[in-house]
């Protein structure tokens, strides 16, 4: 029963709520709700006109049901009716309903706007406030269009009541955030700035929020706010705690306003005017001094409010980064908090110190707290505090303390929470590389990382250690020795096998002189791990073996024996089988010279930014401030709240895609570059096979590939090629034309033309295939079938309806294919056609253009939604990016048409850069739906594109990126 019933009690509502609370089960609750909904519906539909009270009561019940989590599909009209009631309480419920159940139902919106308009012009402050609250709560574009001119007028009008001004200021702020283009600056801007001088502190508080947001967007227009803000702040800081009456909060003078003013000042550099600057410094000093005074109250509210102002002041000091004494004082203050008994303060101090660590004035001062921070890492009970400690250690690390910090982080890693292990691994890897004086330490550190947290060591980390070992002669012998020793452990992590395989394959010779690590022992050691490893690692090991054959002729026989075994030569995995076959042949037929050339040591990698760093940046936790502070700061002052999305834009200008540096072994210039190619690129090797066998129009052979072709020239016959469809080349010339369209000619030769017409909806599709007989003779025994090979079988169902076995001369035969996408896929099915023409059997195989993007459903979304989702899909494996040269002219309209043809919704006005294209959609498969966001950034000067895909599934991102990249 209701505990209190103030104002108007709605008895019916209270009874209903009680009923719901008494329901014993979810089913009972739903039953009760349905009963109520039926009742309300009949009341609303009834002949008898409802009085205001009943209408209010029912609308309120509907609202309650909605807030319980049930859908409401009626009652909006009744709520809108309540808006024009002259009874305050009915109006209020009407507005609440509208605010909660935002519905951009267009006919209702105009009615709602009408009611709001009436209330705004009513000159009744209570009604005006209700109307303004509603605009601020809904904040839709339609409302912005209707009221963007009116609200500023109310805000600056001389006769507006204070409470209305407050609502108007925040209402305008909301409209500016959602539809900035509809809220142009005007002559009201200067008058808004002067609200900082208003007598009513409530008005100043609301206005400061508005001004801060506007100043972040156009700092020039609001420059005058700096001196006013300093003056206001100074008055608050120096006031006695009782001066501000109710704006004093637990003995702290106007903490909300102080914090907002300090935030506003963070939109600007230190004031140039000496007097203002002096006054501000005085304020900041006073705030720092107050922290040392004994508390005026034991209540936590007092200390929270006081420290809130203090932390904001420290943020401003760090932002200005110009007063060494203030910075050091701030650091000392935070140092005190590091040992405070309040967990909240320890947490905030760790966080705040991270930014301080990057200032040259305070870096040394921060470093003095290292022991405390290490202690926090070991003793804090709360994982989020420990995470801040890791961040701070990372931020304060430099050459002088790197060994200590890395050692502490490593030892923490053994017991660290699973949620933060990967980040710690990345951080340790970066620090070890950045501050390595001798690379033996670096190698040891990374191997320890794999030992302690192998599962959390991402590919970037082990790629990087290999890049570094390859590039530095002095560490190669040590690395070989160390991995050899590490591999002795009976159970070692697969990542260690990868690193071990690669390094011994390259530099095993450096330790082969020692009888304890003779070639045969090395090989046996590696091969003892082989059977426990996954396919990609086995592929890597096979490459290591062929390298061994070159390094150590004495083990050639042993290795050939291994390669020749059925488990290799007939391995079910086509990649492993191919490697075994090729390496075995290579070792048999190539002369020592050729072998030595092909299997030469890897050349040094070009020095690039560490891909690990890129990965950590992508993770972009607050702890990374240390690395890109400058960048961040610029964004914060210019763009304020939108810093994150502008950083994606600025990243977009980086010359190298982070992925490009991710695979250490993919070097187009290297001989036999594919030998160590990572599994994702291993398909090249396959492609190469079919190039030789079928002379198909495969992608242009790279330099490395052509070398292999030379090696095998004259031996093509002996070269065993697995082609599951033994009918000859699969035609795919026109394949990529169909990625962005559904109809057209797929294939044509002298006899036959194949046309396509297809339609797709969600995860289903239908394709009409037209076989045109171009001759005047009948085709006999005509049969066309669709084959899905390998993995595709499980991913895609294609059902071909049987067609006539004859096609008359000049006639056309139609066949219907029904398609179902089960899960995301990469390969395309093959259409095999057989027929007899003039006594000879014709075989044609054509790749069918059924591509993943066909199962796209476009999704419209606002800029805000887009970037919100974009950020949510920020995990490294979810994003795939490609930078490539334009193959066609860079026409905007053509590009738009292609993106739409690709299946995504083309979102206009979402990207801050009008020349970029962004799209969104959902890939429908039977098993799941995958949301996809894409962004295409053309660079007309360089004639280049950068394409970024983010989806919830890495494989989908990769496939879509590959498909779309081909199109421009």
């Amino acid at each position: 029963m209701p505990a209190v019933s103030k104002g108007d009690g709605m008895r019916g509502l209270a009874v209903f709520i009680s009923d719901i609370r008494n329901c014993k089960s979810k089913e009972a609750e739903i039953k009760r709700i349905n009963k109520e909904l039926a009742n309300i519906r009949s009341k609303f539909k009834g002949d008898k006109a409802l009085d205001g009270y009943s209408k209010k009561k029912y609308v309120c019940k509907l609202l309650f049901i909605f807030l319980l989590g049930h859908d409401i599909d009626f009652g909006h009209m009744e709520a809108v009716n309540l808006l024009s009631s002259n009874k305050y309480t009915e109006k209020q419920i009407g507005y609440l309903f509208i605010s909660v159940l935002v519905n951009s139902n267009s006919d209702l919106i105009s009615l709602i706007n009408n009611a709001i308009k009436n209330d705004l012009s009513s000159r009744n402050p209570t009604f005006m406030n209700l109307a303004l609250h509603c605009i601020a709560n809904v904040g839709s574009r339609e409302m912005a269009e209707a009221f963007a001119a009116e609200v500023p007028r109310i805000l600056v009008a001389g006769d507006t009541m204070d409470s209305v001004k407050q609502s108007a200021a925040l209402c305008l702020l909301r409209l500016n955030r959602t539809s900035p283009d509809l809220v142009p600056m005007g002559e009201w801007t200067t008058r808004v700035v002067h609200l900082l001088n208003d007598q009513h502190l409530g008005v100043v508080t609301a206005a400061t929020s508005l001004i801060t947001t506007l100043a972040q967007k156009s700092p020039e227009d609001f420059k005058t706010s700096v001196s006013l803000a300093v003056a206001r702040l100074s008055r608050i800081v120096s006031s006695a705690s009782t001066d501000l009456q109710d704006y004093t909060y637990y003995f702290v003078a106007a903490p909300w306003l102080s914090v907002k003013l300090l935030r506003l000042l963070q939109c600007y550099p230190p004031p140039e005017d000496g007097a203002i600057r002096g006054r501000l410094t005085e304020c900041l000093e006073t705030i720092l001094n107050k922290a040392q005074e004994p508390p005026k109250s034991k209540k936590v509210q007092h200390s929270n409010a006081k420290n809130a102002v203090l932390f904001e002041a420290i943020s401003l000091i760090i932002h200005h980064d110009s007063e060494p004494t203030l910075l050091v004082r701030a650091c000392n203050q935070l140092g005190q908090f590091l040992q405070h008994r309040e967990t909240n303060l320890r947490y905030l101090a760790l966080e705040s110190m991270c930014t301080l660590a990057s200032s040259e004035f305070s870096h040394e001062a921060v470093k003095t707290h290292i022991e405390t921070v290490i202690n926090a890492l070991k003793s804090e009970r709360d994982v989020s505090v420990r995470q801040r400690a890791v961040d701070l250690l990372y931020a304060m690390c430099d050459r002088s303390n790197a060994k200590q910090i890395v050692a502490e982080m490593l030892s923490y890693l053994e017991t660290a929470d699973y949620s933060i292990r990967e980040e710690i691994v990345l951080k340790v890897a970066i620090l070890a590389e950045k501050y390595a004086v001798d690379y033996t330490w670096y190698v040891d550190t990374i191997l320890n990382l794999i030992r302690f947290a192998g599962d959390y060591v991402s590919d970037e980390v082990w790629y990087r250690v290999i890049q570094i070992v390859i590039n530095r002669d002095e560490v190669q012998g040590y690395a070989a020795k160390t991995v050899f020793e590490a591999l002795q452990a009976p159970a070692c992590h697969e990542n260690l096998v990868k690193v071990g395989g690669y390094i011994l394959g390259e530099f095993g010779n450096l330790i082969a002189g020692d009888s304890r690590s003779s070639p045969l022992i090395q090989f046996d050691l590696l091969h003892s791990k082989f059977h426990l490893c996954s396919v990609p690692t086995r592929a890597l090991l096979l490459s290591a073996y062929i390298k061994f054959i070159n390094l150590f002729p004495e083990v050639k026989g042993t290795i050939q024996e291994v390669l020749r075994s059925d488990s290799q030569l007939r391995n079910a995995d086509v990649e492993l089988q191919q490697r075994a076959v090729e390496y075995l042949r290579l070792s048999c037929i190539a002369s020592t010279d050729i072998l030595a050339t092909v299997l030469e040591e890897m050349p040094p990698f070009p020095e690039r930014e560490s891909s690990i760093l890129a990965k950590l940046k992508r993770k972009k936790g607050p702890g990374n401030l240390h690395l890109d502070l400058d960048e961040n700061r610029k964004e914060r002052s210019v763009n304020g709240g939108t810093a994150d999305h502008s950083s994606t834009t600025s990243n977009a200008k980086a010359p190298m895609p982070p992925q490009a540096s991710a695979v250490p072994v993919l070097r187009s210039a290297g001989p036999l570059f594919q030998v160590f190619a990572s599994p994702t690129t291993s398909t090249d090797l396959l492609g190469l096979g079919s190039t030789i066998a079928t002379q198909n129009s495969a992608p242009p052979a790279s330099k490395g590939a052509s070398l292999l072709v030379d090696v095998f020239s004259g031996n093509t016959a002996a070269f065993p090629v697995e082609t599951p469809v033994a009918v000859g080349p699969v035609a795919d010339e026109n394949f990529s034309r169909f990625v962005c369209k559904n109809n057209g000619v797929l294939y044509e030769n002298q006899l036959l033309q194949i046309g396509l017409k297809s339609e797709f909806r969600q995860n289903l599709g239908r394709m009409y295939v037209f076989f045109g007989n171009k001759t005047s003779t009948q085709f006999m025994n005509f049969a066309a079938s669709v084959v899905c090979q390998d993995a595709l079988q499980a991913q895609l169902n294609v059902h071909a309806k049987p067609a006539d076995p004859t096609v008359d001369g000049g006639a056309q035969l139609q066949q219907i294919l029904n398609i179902e996408c089960v899960s995301d896929f990469v390969d395309a099915p093959v259409l095999n056609i057989q027929f007899r023409y003039g006594g000879t059997l014709q075989n044609i195989a054509v790749k069918l253009p059924i591509t993943l993007n066909k199962f796209f459903q476009p999704t419209e979304m606002t800029s805000l939604d887009f970037f919100q989702r974009w950020k949510q899909l920020g995990a490294p494996q979810q994003e795939v990016q490609n930078i490539f040269k334009a193959r066609h002219s860079m026409d905007i309209e053509v590009t738009k048409a292609k993106i739409m043809g690709f299946g995504a919704a083309l979102l206009d006005g979402v990207d801050p850069n009008p020349f970029n294209f962004v799209g969104a959609g959902v890939i429908h498969t039977k098993t799941t739906q995958v949301g996809c966001l894409l962004r295409l950034e053309p660079n007309t000067q360089a004639q280049m594109y950068r394409l970024t895909l983010r989806t919830s599934r890495g494989t989908v991102s990769q496939r879509l990126c590959d498909l779309l990249s081909e199109q421009f």
Binding site: L96, A308, D865
Partner: protein, 151 residues
Amino acid sequence: MMHFLLLFSRQGKLRLQKWFTPIPEREKKKIVRDMTTMVLGRKPRSCNFLHWKDLKIVYKKYASLYFCCGLDAEENELLALEVLHRYVELLDKYFGNVCELDIIFNFEKAYFILDEFLLGGEVQETSKQVVSRSIEASDMLQEVSERPRSR
């Protein structure tokens, strides 16, 4: 700015939800789920702040109710705690020793009070007196207009 404010019970029952940015219903449900599991899973005496995606989460428990809000990264966590506290004080003042049941049975009032205090995710009025006065004034309006109904 504040993106959302949620009130939920120890059992994870949502008692009040206020969204200051447009978010689709499905997404809202997901956020509510994430928040309740995350916050309810915290050990006692942990700190009141969390990171979740790009937001700072600040929460505090009052009797049987958890107050939880999501903030932009540049917001001040300590002051957000006091925003929660001030809201509790306002509810307390209005209901007189507020309890979870008051908020369940008078949810509309809880929303009205919130609207007077926070607007568009920013603090509108920090003075307890001013907010209480305007709530009382609107209650007076109600009573005046309700009287002839004599219900």
